[in-house]
């Protein structure tokens, strides 16, 4: 048995939903339900459509959302790096190399899913 028969491209697509839910649970732990609510409202229907209905259309929306998310993070964090004044230190603190690596990853993942959406589902 080859491992490929267990892990299909669809599994990998599903995996792309985990960060948004991880964030949801990160905030749920401190009593804030809103991020998990956002993750559920946006992520769950799309994930279900992709998994059960092989919806290319749903994957297209998801990939565009990921590209949008990555772009906003990139623009925001680059701006914050240059505009020091008035930005909370707690936010400045998080603008680490790993923040940028994650941001680029979201962007790259979004672009990859968008371009390969037909092959993936």
């Amino acid at each position: 048995m080859k491992i490929q028969s267990y892990i299909t491209p669809k599994h990998l697509v599903l995996l792309s939903f985990t960060p948004i839910f991880v964030k949801g649970f990160e905030y749920l732990l401190i009593g804030n339900t809103h991020p998990l609510l956002v993750a559920t409202i946006i992520g769950l229907p799309l994930a279900v459509l992709i998994w059960f209905k092989q919806s290319i259309w749903a994957l297209k929306i998801w990939s565009v959302l990921l590209i949008g998310y990555g772009t906003i993070r990139l623009l925001l964090s680059t701006t914050l790096l240059f505009v020091n004044k008035g930005v909370e230190a707690a936010i400045q603190d998080q603008l680490t190399p790993s923040y940028f690596i994650w941001t680029i990853s979201f962007l790259a993942l979004g672009i990859f899913l968008y371009r390969r959406r037909r092959q993936l589902v």
Partner: protein
């Protein structure tokens, strides 16, 4: 004979130095200088690290550690109040992790059983790029000296809590978390006294501003200030950690130099807010005022 004259001179000079100072003031004065020096990078910490600001999380952690050790060195059991809170809104939450911080506090217990707590504190973080000597190593030094003297009292009819707040410069996150926690714990908080900016007195009048004081605190401070010859100005609003406690309905008072009256540090939030700009005589005078108030609250 010559020796006798020298001895006499020594005694005279010595008495001049100590005249007009309450017992212990000179000691707490040097203690305050050391604390401000180490918090602002004027002197290195024990580890050799030089704190040039207390803004990034690792700098605040180092400052917190130093404050914890400082409280322990005066015989208090220092504790950490660690908190994790959401950002200002959902959009920022979706982009960033929650905010983490640490308040450092110690309880100076009542000697006669009491469930009442008098809280006094100051923020220890600084604005990015600023050593934060007057804003707010001065407030921290004030509270530290008050805590030391309170702990030495034979009788305390109330519990006292000295607390050093994290992240005041980020919308009072630390004090808000502390106020929330005190509320959740259902503590019987008698009053909350916050100090911020207590190191500038260009006109030499020793005046203090009390912001949005609860009525009973206002009268206590005024009476003691009058006895000490300290002019008092009452102001409104909430400019510092007092905001967090006012919002949650605690009886609160904020102590500062003459911010609204115009006699305040021009170096606030700047790289020039350094050790050498701190007026330690003024800090000592304001420390005495707060201590005398606390002493009265301990005795009554």
């Amino acid at each position: 004979m010559k020796n006798l004259v020298v001895l006499l001179l020594f005694v005279l000079v010595g008495s001049q130095v100590t005249l007009g100072q309450t017992p212990g003031t000179r000691h707490t004065g040097s203690m305050q200088k050391e604390l401000v020096a180490k918090l602002t990078g004027h002197l290195p910490l024990e580890s050799g690290f030089v704190l040039t600001q207390r803004s990034k999380s690792f700098e605040r952690a180092i400052a917190a550690q130093y404050l914890e050790e400082s409280l322990k060195s005066i015989g208090l059991q220092a504790r950490k109040h660690q908190y994790t809170v959401s950002n200002i809104n959902l959009i920022v939450d979706m982009m960033f992790h929650p905010i983490e911080g640490t308040n450092i506090y110690a309880i100076i217990p009542a000697t006669n059983a009491s469930d009442e707590y008098v809280v006094f504190g100051a923020h220890y973080d600084s604005e990015p790029g600023s050593p934060g000597a007057i804003d707010n190593a001065s407030g921290v030094a004030l509270c530290y000296a008050v805590a030391k003297q309170l702990a030495e009292l034979q009788v305390r009819n109330r519990n006292f809590v000295v607390v050093f707040f994290d992240q005041e410069e980020d919308d009072e996150i630390g004090s808000r978390a502390f106020a929330q926690w005190a509320k959740e714990e259902g503590r019987n908080v008698h009053s909350v006294h916050t100090t911020d900016l207590v190191g500038w007195d260009n006109n030499g009048n020793r005046a203090v501003e009390l912001q949005s004081p609860a009525a009973m605190l206002e009268s206590t401070y005024k009476a003691i200030a009058e006895r000490l010859g300290i002019p008092i100005h009452i102001t409104t609003g909430a400019s510092s950690d007092n905001k967090s406690f006012l919002e949650m309905g605690f009886d609160t008072i904020a102590i500062s130099e003459e911010w609204f009256n115009g006699d305040h540090t021009p170096h606030i939030h700047k790289p020039t807010d350094v050790y050498s700009t701190v007026n330690f005589e003024y800090l000592s005078s304001t420390t005495e005022l707060v201590y005398e108030v606390m002493k009265q609250l301990a005795e009554n």
